[in-house]
């Protein structure tokens, strides 16, 4: 059975996992969110070596790039972009987060310390038009990702299904993969013809990441995105069947 082969200490050095000092019990609701997601196949050499041993790669390996432009939140408006590797935790479809950039340091800090996003401060600009959309992510003024999407085509809101994220973080339980469950209430979903016009792999967690074949790109307008408190945390080097911990205080705190 295919499993990740990444050395954990190397992974920690590369991803710089944030610290979650205490398990939080409060959800957060983001309002008026434009959500761009681009899924691209990765070259085969990146398949197992980029994942911790507790996770399983998909075949083919794929990179999921997501950007949110949030109109309203308790932290004010902000934009965020994060990359994830498609994978399985046990039998569940998940995305292992490799990097994250946000343009609001308060939001970024909260997302890091409550949900384990490996956030860095930078510029995230998601612009949507009737005929196209563009995403540009910069760090220290240097572009590290640009995406162009054209010709939006409407889909039903039920056609899009996001996978939950697994973020590597230092937690009260130790170094864990924390499962981030984001509930999107979409009012509009479109498929766009997306392409990655620039991608700095090292800035997104691993210089072996080479997204070469775009599978699909969607642009959704969500009334709300609700981030639930963390309910599950997994040991990164053990199968989820044995290595999953329930955060008891959040067990029933969902939806």
């Amino acid at each position: 059975m295919l499993t990740g082969t990444a050395d954990l200490s190397s992974l920690v050095a590369r991803l710089a996992p944030p610290t979650i000092p205490a398990w939080d019990h409060e959800p957060v609701e983001l309002r008026g969110v434009d959500c761009l997601q681009l899924v691209a196949e990765l070259r085969r050499p990146a398949r197992e070596v980029t994942l911790p041993r507790g996770l399983h790669p998909t075949e083919p390996p794929a990179l999921i790039i997501q950007a949110w432009k949030v109109d309203e939140s308790v932290w004010g408006p902000f934009s965020i972009c994060f990359t994830r590797l498609s994978c399985r935790s046990g039998v569940r479809a998940r995305g292992f987060t490799t990097a994250c950039v946000s343009d609001n340091d308060v939001a970024g800090d909260q997302l890091a310390t409550r949900w384990g996003f490996p956030n860095r401060e930078g510029g995230v600009r998601l612009r949507t038009h009737y005929d196209a959309c563009e995403l540009e992510v910069t760090v220290d003024g240097r572009p590290i990702l640009t995406i162009a999407g054209i010709d939006p085509q409407a889909l039903s809101t039920g056609s899009l299904q996001y996978t939950a994220s697994l973020n590597l973080a230092e937690t009260p339980n130790g170094l864990r993969l924390v499962q981030v469950e984001a509930a999107h209430d979409a009012e509009r979903v479109q498929r766009v013809g997306g392409r990655i016009t620039s991608f700095d792999a090292a800035s997104w967690g691993d210089n072996r990441l080479e997204p070469y074949h775009v599978v699909a790109t969607t642009l959704a307008r969500d009334r709300t995105v609700r981030l639930a408190p963390i309910r599950f945390a997994c040991l990164p080097e053990i199968s989820a069947f044995e290595g999953t911990e329930v955060i008891e205080t959040n067990r029933g705190n969902h939806e």
Partner: protein, 365 residues
């Protein structure tokens, strides 16, 4: 384990199943799935099975009706040839694939697979039954031609469609196709699907010249005199299959589309929780599992039979976790202790279901 050995084991299982009185052997069609199901040329495998057996029916479970993978003319030709070589034992299942691994590998558009499937199941029976076929459709176009050879079974082999997502059983019924379940569901869910299927098929507009109104489900089978041994050997096979199945890269996950409502083959009871629940929860074992001693299997099969299931297609192994010796032993025990409990209630002459005839008033295609 070397692929040669896996294929040799499978053929041996088919030969034994034929001798023991099993009714069907089914072969899937999958491409590029490293960990799971290296059965990318089922027509070749089934031809070998047909050549090495005498009475067991050989089933495509199923041919992928996506033009980038299989041209409908070639499907019709290969199936007819297989029906001839097998002496009229072909069961013809149809499908449209559901993984991005496969569809993406062939450059197929997931949005179009439902359309191409619906087109193929209408045109292929015409190719089997008409001397001159012309077609202008969404997936392909052909001028007048006689597609040859013609199948041995008249008017043509029974046709099926694989059923994973809820609702596909209604697609089957509306078209007069057999319902070939390939995802584990609960007794209650299967009863609902079977009831709806039989209600709808009564007024079907058949795509072929014959209606196939049978319902088959998928199950796992390991039979041993000792229930505890059966569990110890058989349950890892189920877990292996379910885990490897869950690791496939499903179309809906990669490519937002209305054409694939389900995220994978997870059973109905688990589908809703697929994304937001305890990741340590092993995929729940399906109800009515064919793992156990003969008495247990008889009870399980009787329950399935009582809710209207006409046949059960058993997965015998996954990842070769069960030894070939144990698989063959299980087949022998099942044949000697379980089959007679059901076969004794039928006449030997009608042991294998034959396609039903066309309803009155319906012209053949």
């Amino acid at each position: 384990m070397a692929e040669y050995t896996v294929y040799a084991n499978a053929l041996e299982q088919c030969r034994l199943a034929d001798e023991l009185g099993f009714d069907f052997v089914w072969a899937v069609e999958h491409h590029f799935l490293e960990e799971y199901s290296h059965c990318s040329a089922p027509e070749v495998f089934l031809t070998a099975v047909a050549a090495q057996t005498k009475r067991i029916r050989v089933g495509h479970g199923a041919v992928v009706c996506v033009p980038e993978m299989n041209h409908p003319i070639r499907i019709a030709e290969r199936a007819a040839a297989l029906d001839l070589i097998s002496g009229g034992r072909l069961e013809f299942g149809t499908a449209r694939s559901s993984t991005w691994t496969e569809l993406g590998g062939f450059g197929a558009d997931p949005d179009h697979t439902k359309k191409s499937w619906d087109e193929f199941v209408r045109v292929i029976p015409k190719m089997w039954t008409q001397d001159c076929v012309e077609w202008q459709g969404h997936s392909f176009t052909m001028p007048e031609r006689d597609v040859i050879p013609k199948p041995l079974q008249q008017p043509h082999p029974p046709m099926w469609v694989t059923v994973t997502s809820p609702g596909t059983e209604l697609d089957a019924a509306e078209r007069g196709l057999g319902s070939l379940g390939v995802a584990a569901v609960s007794y209650d869910e299967q009863e609902r699907r079977t009831t709806d299927y039989h209600r709808v098929i009564k007024n079907c507009e058949p795509v072929g010249a014959v209606v196939n109104d049978r319902v088959h489900t998928m199950n796992f089978m390991y039979c041993h005199e000792d229930y505890r041994v059966a569990s110890r050997v058989g349950l890892p096979m189920v877990a292996t299959f379910n885990t490897l199945n869950a690791h496939l890269y499903w179309t809906r996950e990669a490519h937002a589309t209305d054409a694939y409502p389900s995220l994978g083959n997870l059973g109905q009871s688990l589908r809703l929780a697929a994304n937001a629940d305890d990741p340590s929860a092993a995929k729940g074992l399906p109800e009515g599992l064919g793992i156990g001693d003969p008495d247990h299997l008889v009870a399980v099969i009787r329950r399935w039979e009582a809710i209207g299931v006409d046949g059960i297609n058993f997965v015998l192994n996954a990842g070769e976790v069960v030894s070939q010796e144990d698989v063959l032993g299980s087949l022998r025990l099942f044949a000697s202790e379980v089959i007679p409990k059901f076969r004794s209630r039928e006449s030997a002459a009608s042991r294998v279901d034959a396609p039903t005839t066309l309803p009155e008033g319906i012209d053949p295609c």
